[in-house]
C-alpha cells in the first residue's frame, strides 16, 4: 500500500524535463530512435540513455516502452466499486486485493470508497469475480464497465 503523500517530487533539471516531455509524446520508430531525439534536444545519444536510465532508477518514470491497448490482449475489463465501512476497510482491502484479477485499487473519498479495476480473460470471468467478491465481502459491487471511451492518454508536463 502506498500513501499518496509518500513519494515527493524530485528535483529535475531542464534537460531531464525536456526528455520526460518528449518521451511522453513518443519514441520514433527508426533504427536509432534516441539519436533522433538527442539531435532535437542538442545533447548526445549517450546522455539521453544515461538520463533515461536514471529517471527509471529514481522512479520518476514508472515505465518506458510500447503502451498497448489492453483490448488487444483479448481480455475483459471493468471498473467496480464498494461501499466499505471504515472499521472493515483493511480487511475488505485484503479480500479484494487477493483476487489476482484486481489490477488497480484506490481508496476514494465517497460513500463508494473503494474503486478497483477488474481485468480478466473473458466477460464471463468478470461476472464470476464480482460474484466471488460479493460473497467474500457481503457487500454489493457497483459494476461500471465503460460503454464509450473518449480519450485515454496522459501528458504530465514536467
Amino acid at each position: 500500500m502506498t500513501s499518496m503523500q509518500s513519494q515527493s517530487a524530485i528535483a529535475l533539471d531542464d534537460i531531464d524535463k525536456k526528455i520526460i516531455n518528449v518521451l511522453q509524446r513518443g519514441l520514433p520508430v527508426c533504427v536509432q530512435p534516441f539519436a533522433e531525439i538527442a539531435q532535437q534536444l542538442a545533447i548526445s545519444e549517450q546522455e539521453i540513455l544515461n538520463r533515461l536510465d536514471n529517471l527509471l532508477d529514481n522512479k520518476v518514470l514508472s515505465r518506458f516502452g510500447p503502451m498497448f491497448d489492453a483490448a488487444c490482449f483479448g481480455g475483459a475489463f471493468t471498473l467496480a466499486a464498494l461501499q466499505v465501512a471504515e472499521e472493515n476497510f483493511e480487511e475488505i482491502t485484503k479480500i479484494v486485493n487477493d483476487f489476482e484479477q484486481i489490477a488497480h485499487n484506490y481508496k476514494r473519498d465517497h460513500q463508494y470508497n473503494m474503486w478497483f479495476v477488474i481485468a480478466t480473460e473473458s466477460q464471463q470471468e468478470i461476472a464470476q469475480v464480482i460474484a466471488k467478491i460479493e460473497q467474500a465481502t457481503g457487500l454489493e459491487v457497483l459494476n461500471a464497465p465503460k460503454l464509450k471511451e473518449f480519450y485515454v492518454g496522459l501528458y504530465l508536463p514536467a
Binding site: 522512479k59 498497448f68 488487444c72
Partner: protein, 200 residues
C-alpha cells in the same frame, strides 16, 4: 433512459499473430534503454530490423500499440492530486459532451459508464490531474461550466434531489499492478530477459 442507447466502442480485439504476441511479451515490461532497441527486438523475434520497424508501425496504425513512450510517475513530478469527476448528464447529449470533455488538456481519461440507480446516478467520468487541490477543483469547475446545460435534475423516491456531479479524490493506492498478456503458447523464456534493465 436506457444505457443501451450508447454504442460500446466498436474497436473489436483482432486476434494477434504469434509474432505480435511475442512482441508484446518481450516489451510489456518495457524496452531496454539502449541505442538500438529495435535491433534487440529483431534478435529475439528472429526477423530483420526492417521487419521489426514495419511490424511496430503496423501495430501502431492498428491501435494495438498506442505509442512507444515514457510513463511518468505522477507523484514524482509533483502531480499529487487527482480527481475522478463524475456527472449525471442527459443520455442524448452524452456522446457529444464526452468528446468535448475528453479533449480538455487536463483530462486523462473520459468514459461513459452505466448508472445504477438509486445508489449511483453518474454516467460520465472524467479523470483530472494537478499539482494542488485548488488546481483540480478549478478543473472541475471548468468541466461543470461546459456541462451546465445537460446536467440531469433527478429526484430520489423520497423526492430529495440527487446530486448531479461530484469529484472523488484518491486518498490511498491500495493495489497497482500492470495489465499483462499471459504467456501461453510461447516459450517461457521469452519475457525473462527484458526485466532487469527495465526497472519494472
Amino acid at each position: 433512459m436506457s444505457d443501451s442507447t450508447y454504442q460500446p466502442n466498436a474497436k473489436k480485439a483482432e486476434p494477434l499473430s504469434s509474432l505480435e504476441r511475442q512482441y508484446i511479451l518481450l516489451t510489456q515490461n518495457g524496452l531496454p534503454i539502449i541505442a538500438k532497441p529495435y535491433h534487440w527486438l529483431s534478435e529475439r523475434l528472429n526477423i530483420s530490423v526492417e521487419q521489426v520497424l514495419n511490424l511496430t508501425n503496423s501495430m501502431q496504425q492498428r491501435g494495438i500499440i498506442r505509442r512507444i513512450a515514457a510513463v511518468p510517475n505522477h507523484y514524482k513530478l509533483g502531480y499529487h492530486f487527482n480527481g475522478m469527476t463524475v456527472w449525471d448528464i442527459e443520455d442524448s447529449q452524452a456522446e457529444k459532451l464526452g468528446q468535448i470533455i475528453g479533449k480538455l488538456p487536463f483530462v486523462s481519461h473520459c468514459y461513459l459508464r452505466p448508472r445504477k440507480l438509486p445508489s449511483w446516478n453518474y454516467n460520465l467520468f472524467a479523470m483530472v490531474h494537478g499539482k494542488s487541490n485548488q488546481e483540480i477543483t478549478q478543473y472541475r469547475s471548468q468541466i461543470k461550466t461546459l456541462l451546465s446545460e445537460v446536467l440531469v435534475n433527478r429526484k430520489q423516491q423520497n423526492a430529495q434531489p440527487f446530486k448531479n456531479c461530484d469529484m472523488l479524490t484518491s486518498t490511498q493506492i491500495l493495489k497497482k499492478t500492470g495489465l499483462r498478456l499471459k504467456n501461453k503458447n510461447v516459450a517461457n523464456d521469452v519475457t525473462a530477459t527484458t526485466q532487469e534493465k527495465n526497472h519494472v
